[in-house]
């Protein structure tokens, strides 16, 4: 790169962010998660700027945006997973049905029990399939055999995995295929009967067929659960979500009904992104 080009980058003004555009679809049952003026810093660098999103109850909300824009950071803030990181600072507030998530008095463990989380890479525990599914119950100290058995079946059926594994419940979960492992993780996430399911690119390690199964699953689960899903796959966001939030460099650019956002985006940046001009 020539010297003049580098200087040009140096001099170019930081991008100006207009206030986000909102045209989201409202749920009849109200707001599940309310993210208010939420900012987050990793040490000195700010990763999230004044995020305001109302996640509607029983709906699927997709988070999209180019790599590094803060989708995972936002999602992991919702169940305080970011607490594990040193030098992390937040301002603003998130409320779960009116109860604040941030603050000294918040019981983080109780909070996490109301939120299931599915990670980008399937992370089954080195235990049997059944033990994996009932892990949230084990953590709660449930020992009643019948209850556990019922939870195993119910959760595995819920994750559309029951028929494939019902004969090998006592074998190691690590013997499952990648797609099966991811559905097992979904089963584990819903076994604790949470209100909200957080999914961070749940299909990125899967083949198209496994992806389809998980999308179908999300379709079935919504209504009972409020789902927030991070995805890089625009088609996927279009297929499964009701509302979509588009983020860029830590800012929320547009938050709206998925069909509207993908067909007639209101913000210029969103249009550039979904038409594939950058990102």
């Amino acid at each position: 790169m020539s010297v003049t080009a580098a200087a040009a980058v140096e001099k170019s003004a930081p991008p100006v962010f207009l206030p986000p555009v909102y045209h989201d679809r409202q749920s009849a049952s109200g707001v599940q998660l309310e993210i208010k003026d939420f900012c987050l810093w990793y040490g000195q660098s700010q990763a999230l700027h004044d995020i305001n999103i109302n996640v509607q109850k029983g709906m699927v909300t997709a988070l999209i945006g180019p790599s590094g824009c803060g989708k995972s950071t936002l999602l992991r803030s919702l169940n305080r997973m970011n607490d594990l990181i040193d030098n992390l600072r937040t301002t603003g507030q998130v409320t779960l049905e009116g109860e604040p998530l941030f603050g000294n008095k918040v019981d983080v463990i109780a909070l996490r029990k109301r939120m299931g989380m599915v990670f980008q890479k399937p992370n089954p525990f080195p235990m049997t399939i059944a033990e994996n599914v009932v892990y949230p119950l084990k953590v709660d100290g449930v020992t009643d055999k019948a209850l556990l058995q019922e939870a195993v079946e119910k959760s595995l059926r819920g994750a559309a995995l029951w028929d494939e594994v019902k004969d090998r419940l006592n074998q190691s979960a690590l013997g499952l295929s990648g797609g099966q492992q991811q559905r097992l993780c979904i089963a584990r996430a819903i076994a604790g009967n949470p209100d909200v399911l957080l999914m961070d690119e749940p299909c990125s390690a899967l083949d198209p067929i496994a992806t389809l199964k998980i999308e179908e699953l999300i379709d079935e689960l919504k209504g009972n659960y409020t789902i927030v899903i991070v995805t890089h796959n625009m088609q996927q966001a279009g297929r499964v979500s009701d509302n979509t939030a588009f983020m860029y460099l830590g800012h929320l650019i547009e938050y709206g009904a998925t069909d509207v956002l993908f067909t007639t985006p209101k913000a210029a940046k969103t249009e550039e992104y979904i038409t594939g001009r950058f990102g």
Partner: protein, 581 residues
């Protein structure tokens, strides 16, 4: 290609050089890394040769020591006759004095051989006859060497081996010799004598020892009463009366046992054996002093195997005799295994908990780094320093306090206030704990972050995550650390000499007397046994084969301990294996 690149870099126009640069194809030797491969292969081969050589040597000497050797009868130039087991030959340079004593032909032969001669080491036994049981015989002094039948090698309770003839025995006072002394008669008498010795041993070391143990307990009880109530108080007087009454009972029992023993001893005296060495001198011993006897030159394969098996069996199951150079090492095997297991039981929780705190809970920073570096450096402290610390801190300070608090009636003789199994195990635990800490930290940090996050996301607390996810997952790695610690601990001798290992322990650390496990007792250890037999005994020539045998046994024990630990680890590991999609 290389030419282009070179000419390009040679020109002043850098831009052109860059556009014309091509990566040269092929590669030179250094780039392919072949010399490093040779180096690595060489290093491996060198290491393997040393290890294989060492193990082969231990195996060879360890396995051949107990095989019966033939007895040679050597007639010397001066007409003397000696009988012994030839052990090895070597070339040596006779001194001028030795040469002067020989005749001209011998001197010339040696001179022709550049001043060298050959000599053979014979194990003569018969320490009680000659005052020495090994002898070098130069070849030029041996007139005639033969292996006659009928020579007997006797392993004895005392005085080491006897080589010669059994000329007579007395059974119940009547003498049997000459043709009447058939092998059958001798064997029957010997079996009977050994059985009698067994009975005597049982009475003296078993039942009388029990009585003594109880008497000692009573004495301590009386002493305790004095300490608790004060002399002359009603409590003390009552306790003393009770103790006196029970002591009298025990005393009566003791008297009967002693009488019984006396009768057996009288019988012993009436059953003797007469040994006649090759030169004709004789000595008389109790018949039961014979451990085993056989005619070395007439054994055949079956007979040799039987002797070999019997010697191994005695070695592994019996107590030592003859200042540890003969007999068995059963107490040392027991002591080694028990000490290693107790050490593992101590070091495992200690190391794992420390590592857990360091890795999972402590705030990572300067202080934790310093602690970690210190722990790693502890592994480099000479082990004898741990021995000094163990003696000073564990035995004298800790043990002394325990004695003062709980066993005042036994003072001034120490109970815990001296070296013992517990203090040895603790000292070695301290010595090996860095290994466990480092391995555990390693294993903990190898647990993927995604697993922890998965568990936390399920609403598990940090402790639940560690308990259910992290520890099981790290268990094989922790076991590896423990295996290393065990191997290190089982082979350690120096610190043990200060904190509880003895040459000959009067009692095992476990017995049938309450509370069964006596961890305060001193114990025997194979490692120390090797040192003691090889370097501290009267006759290093006699001890040498035992060094190899004991080394072999120690290696096998460490191997067995490790193999069982590895088996456990692999069972743990299998649970976590699976396809990685």
């Amino acid at each position: 290609m290389a030419d282009v690149a070179q000419s390009g870099s040679g020109t002043t126009d850098l831009a052109e050089a860059q556009t014309t640069f091509r990566r040269s194809h092929g590669s030179d030797l250094a780039a392919r890394g072949e010399p490093f491969l040779w180096g690595m292969g060489g290093a491996l081969a060198f290491g393997m040769t040393m290890i294989v050589g060492f193990v082969a040597m231990v195996l060879y000497f360890g396995l051949t020591t107990f095989w019966p050797k033939p007895i040679e009868v050597v007639t010397l130039m001066d007409g003397k006759v000696i009988a012994g087991e030839p052990l090895r030959q070597e070339r040596y340079r006779p001194t001028a004095d030795q040469l002067a004593a020989e005749n001209e032909t011998v001197r010339q032969a040696i001179a022709a051989d550049l001043g060298f001669a050959t000599r053979t080491l014979y194990h003569l036994g018969n320490y009680d006859f000659y005052g020495d049981d090994f002898r070098w015989v130069p070849d030029f002094q041996a007139k005639q060497t033969e292996r006659p039948a009928g020579l007997v090698l006797v392993e004895r309770q005392e005085w080491g081996a006897f080589i010669g003839h059994i000329s007579a025995i007395t059974v119940k006072g009547s003498k049997i010799e000459g043709d009447a002394l058939t092998p059958e008669v001798l064997a029957a008498a010997h079996v009977e004598a050994r059985a009698r010795r067994e009975r005597l041993h049982d009475i003296e070391n078993g039942r009388i020892a029990d009585v003594n143990h109880e008497m000692e307990a009573l004495r301590l009880q009386a002493r305790r009463a004095v300490l608790d109530y004060g002399t002359g108080t009603p409590g003390q007087i009552a306790a003393q009366a009770e103790v006196d009454r029970r002591t009298a009972e025990l005393q009566a029992g003791y008297t009967t046992l002693a009488a019984e023993a006396q009768i057996i001893k009288a019988e012993e005296a009436a059953n003797t054996v007469t040994f006649r060495e090759i030169g004709g001198a004789t000595k008389v011993y109790p018949l039961s002093a014979i451990v085993r006897y056989f005619e070395s030159n007439d054994l055949g394969l079956g007979g040799s195997l039987a002797v070999y098996g019997a010697r191994w069996w005695e070695y592994l199951t019996a107590e030592p005799r003859e200042a540890n150079t003969e007999g068995g090492v059963a107490p040392a095997i027991f002591g080694t295994v028990v000490m290693t297991l107790v050490m593992s039981l101590l070091v495992a929780p200690f190391g794992v908990i420390t590592a857990l705190y360091l890795r999972e809970y402590a705030k990572q920073g300067r202080i934790v780094s310093i602690v970690r570096i210190s722990v790693n450096n502890l592994a480099g402290v000479p082990s004898i320093v741990y021995g000094v610390f163990g003696l000073g801190f564990f035995a004298y300070i800790l043990g002394g306090s325990i004695d003062a608090l709980f066993f005042p009636e036994r003072l001034p003789s120490p109970t815990f206030g001296t070296g013992g199994l517990l203090w040895s195990a603790l000292t070695l635990a301290l010595l090996t704990v860095p290994v466990v800490i480092v391995a555990t930290e390693e294993a903990l940090s190898a647990v993927p972050r995604s697993m922890r996050e998965g568990s936390l996301a399920c609403g598990a607390s940090k402790w639940q995550t560690i308990r259910y996810i992290v520890l099981p997952r790290a268990a094989p790695g922790i076991m590896t650390g423990l295996i290393l610690a065990m191997a290190r601990g089982a082979g350690e001798v120096a610190p043990l000499m200060l904190v509880g290992v003895v040459k000959l322990a009067p009692q095992l650390p476990f017995d049938l007397n309450w509370p069964f496990a006596h961890l305060e007792r001193s114990f025997m250890h194979l490692g120390f046994h090797i040192f003691d037999v090889g370097f501290q005994s009267r006759n290093s020539e006699a001890g040498r084969p035992m060094v190899f045998v004991t080394t072999l046994v120690l290696i096998v024990i460490v191997l067995l301990l490790n193999v069982s630990a590895i088996a456990i680890r692999n069972r743990l590991k299998r649970r976590f294996q699976g396809s990685q999609f």
